[in-house]
């Protein structure tokens, strides 16, 4: 049984690991391979700061809320393990700021210590009159993806550096099931009008005195189009750009200025922070995550889609990986019921 995962961002690698952990011992013939044209540190997941935080007012999809919770609980369980540092996993607390009172988010009981901000705390952020404080997690792509890669390599999973142009191409190479984790470019393999790029840009600075995340929200500018500051283990990530429909992965000087000015206004202490890096990437925006099976072509060829995680890929990844693995379990079960493995010509 050959399973090919296309895509090596956080979704592709974690789905591969979850599948291998769950089924390798049950299905000894299981062979897993990853195909991608970009690997860490050049994936979308590598550019993201890595803060676990779903949208403030989500799609309302209960599955997504559950997947977010499963991911948080899974990561929380790993916090005390010796692997945590290598995974790029640690606790972080911080502020979500609003210009008017908003209802509590769906994830208020998932994170730790969720509460609204006191008047004295709001004094820190002129222009914002309401907010939340909570403790969440950071999972840095630049550490997590290599960690996943090492786990997969140890398990004998093969990696191919290849641009895939069609599912057929992968089936022709011997795959029985393809897991489609291609993120923003999934449309190249199968048109999906619901999927579009959400271009983001970030500035990475050296500001080790910043210990909290600060995420602002502006109903007028829209999601992720308002300044945010996220402290990583080595760099602090400044951002606040989200341009749906923009495929440009080059850094924009205009966006740079907007991010720099708005973040320095938010946290004057940033003014002296040296800039270390600038990066642009494409969030795979979709009204809902596409996580489902699809029979393609003829015969028993199946694709499991797992893409469209917008700006919350890291936040939701493990729940989705487990759901995708369950879908594969369904396929395995059905195919066993169909008798001995069919021969290949």
């Amino acid at each position: 049984m050959r399973v090919a995962v296309i895509g090596a961002g956080v979704i592709g690698l974690s789905t591969a690991l979850c599948i291998h952990e769950q089924y390798r011992s049950l299905v000894p013939s299981l062979e897993l391979a990853v195909y991608a044209d970009r690997y860490t540190p050049r994936t979308t997941s590598d550019g993201a700061a890595g803060l676990w935080q779903p949208y403030t007012h989500g799609s309302g999809d209960l599955r997504e809320t559950l997947w977010n919770k499963e991911t948080f609980d899974y990561l929380l369980g790993h916090l005390g393990s010796p692997e945590a540092k290598e995974m790029g996993l640690f606790l972080v607390s911080g502020y979500n700021l609003f210009k008017q009172p908003v209802p509590d988010p769906s994830w208020k009981n998932i994170v730790l210590g969720f509460r609204t901000l006191t008047p004295k705390e709001l004094e820190l952020f002129p222009g914002y009159s309401y907010g939340w404080f909570n403790t969440a997690l950071m999972l840095e792509g630049r550490s997590y993806l290599p960690w996943l890669t090492r786990r997969l390599t140890q398990r004998g999973v093969k990696f191919f550096h290849q641009k895939i142009d069609s599912f057929q191409e992968v089936f022709a190479q011997g795959a029985d099931v393809v897991v489609n984790c291609t993120g923003a470019r999934a449309g190249q393999l199968q048109p999906d009008p619901a999927l579009q790029p959400g271009r983001g840009q970030v500035i990475k600075v050296r500001a080790p005195w910043v210990k909290h995340f600060v995420v602002t929200h502006d109903a007028e500018s829209g999601l992720y189009n308002s300044p945010y500051i996220i402290p990583g283990s080595e760099v602090t990530v400044l951002g606040g750009v989200n341009q749906p429909g923009n495929w440009n992965e080059e850094n924009s000087a205009r966006d740079h200025r907007a991010i720099w000015e708005t973040c320095c206004r938010l946290l004057p202490a940033l003014q002296k922070a040296p800039i270390v890096e600038e990066w642009s990437g494409l969030r795979p925006l979709r009204p809902r995550v596409r996580l489902e099976r699809e029979a393609v072509g003829h015969g028993q060829a199946e694709v499991i889609h797992n893409y469209g995680h917008g700006g919350f890929g890291i936040t939701i990844h493990w729940g989705c990986a487990m759901a995708a693995a369950r879908l594969l379990g369904g396929i395995l079960q059905e195919q066993q019921q169909l008798g001995p493995p069919r021969s290949r010509i």
């Binding site: 005390g80 010796p82 945590a84 606790l91 210590g113 509460r115 005195w209 210990k211 004057p268 202490a269």
Partner: protein, 341 residues
């Protein structure tokens, strides 16, 4: 009349902040800081610089709260300005955890720090050996940076600084009108204060930049304080020990205790060990006196004995010391007016 000459003896956080308050309040004075040690070799340089006060038994709670509030407000403003990184001041959140319920339900500073509240059950799961705790956000000073920043501001105001070991305060009487004694543990020898005693603290400074929260055991012995360039792991509180040499078995004990609170510290690197002597006293020595020999006089203001609370109280006590200097100035100007008749 010629400008009054004021000397501040001591260049730790108390000496430098007191000098700054004096320079701000009395710009006409000629001000000098004299110390045998400057940063990075003061007691303050060893401290973590966390604004979490201890309760001093001999000072009224009202006064301690006033000093802490003044200090917190002052540093809060700096932390939120462009100077923050140079001054080394930043906010940090975290938890104080208790194995057995604390004696006081609400510490006197709970309404001065930000967001003070009891920890939730979910938060306490991270600390299986502790049964309750407090979550809050406070300020931290990166001590060497802060002292350098204070020195820079003093120099900008024309304050002179000299390295010199003062054997007794009287030796300064011919050069200065007023002397401010901010010698910390040095006051034990300098003014023979037997009520002042060291409380030895050994700490580790380690590199663990993924640690973003402080954790403090309510017993005050184990703490993890993340700073700008390193994390301070502590500690010890050894009364009456004058030993400035790091003890290796203590180092291991501190490391183990901190790792049990925060397991990821096992991966910490660049471990350095430091020792400081907290200048402890039943209450802070903050008063003025007149020394005289023959016909000569020296007005002295004392500001020492802050124990574990140097950083937590420094600005508040500095302002009070500056106020006392003002009283000395008034007394000298009054007597010089009288001398004219």
């Amino acid at each position: 009349m010629a400008a009054l000459k004021v000397a501040v003896v001591g260049a730790g956080v108390v000496g430098l902040s007191t000098a700054l308050c004096i320079a701000e309040a009395f710009p006409a004075c000629s001000l000098t800081v004299i110390a045998d040690r400057f940063t990075p070799n003061t007691t303050s340089d060893v401290a973590a610089g966390m604004l979490i006060p201890h309760t001093i038994p001999g000072t009224s709670l009202h006064v301690q709260k006033q000093w802490f509030k003044e200090t917190f407000t002052y540093l809060f403003a700096i932390s939120n300005s462009a100077e923050a990184s140079e001054a080394g001041i930043h906010l940090v959140s975290g938890w104080q955890v208790f194995k057995s319920s604390p004696t006081e339900e609400l510490p006197f500073w709970s309404d001065i720090v930000l967001g003070f509240r009891p920890m939730s059950e979910a938060e306490l799961q991270k600390f299986p050996q502790h049964r309750c705790g407090q979550a809050f956000t406070t300020l931290k000073c990166d001590c060497p940076s802060y002292l350098l920043w204070l020195e820079k501001r003093l120099k900008a105001k024309g304050v002179q600084m000299y390295t010199r070991k003062v054997a007794n305060l009287w030796e300064l009487h011919s050069e200065y009108n007023i002397v401010v004694n901010c010698t910390g543990i040095g006051a034990h020898q300098l003014v023979g204060d037997q009520k002042l005693f060291p409380v030895r603290g050994q700490v580790l400074k380690v590199r663990a930049p993924w640690v973003k929260h402080f954790v403090r055991d309510g017993d005050g012995l184990t703490y993890i304080y993340p700073g700008i360039h390193n994390v301070t792991l502590g500690g010890t509180r050894e009364k009456e020990s004058w030993n400035l040499s790091p003890d290796p078995s203590t180092t291991k004990a501190i490391f183990d205790r901190c790792c049990s609170l925060e397991p990821s510290l096992q991966r910490a690197q660049d471990i350095k060990v430091k020792v400081g002597l907290r200048p402890s006293r039943v209450c802070v020595a903050l008063h003025r006196e007149v020394l005289s020999q023959g016909g000569a006089k020296l007005l002295v203001v004392h500001n020492y004995g802050h124990g574990s609370g140097g950083f937590s109280m420094h600005r508040g006590t500095a302002k009070e010391a500056a106020h006392l200097v003002g009283e000395c100035i008034a007394a000298l100007q009054g007597s010089s007016l009288r001398a004219k008749f």
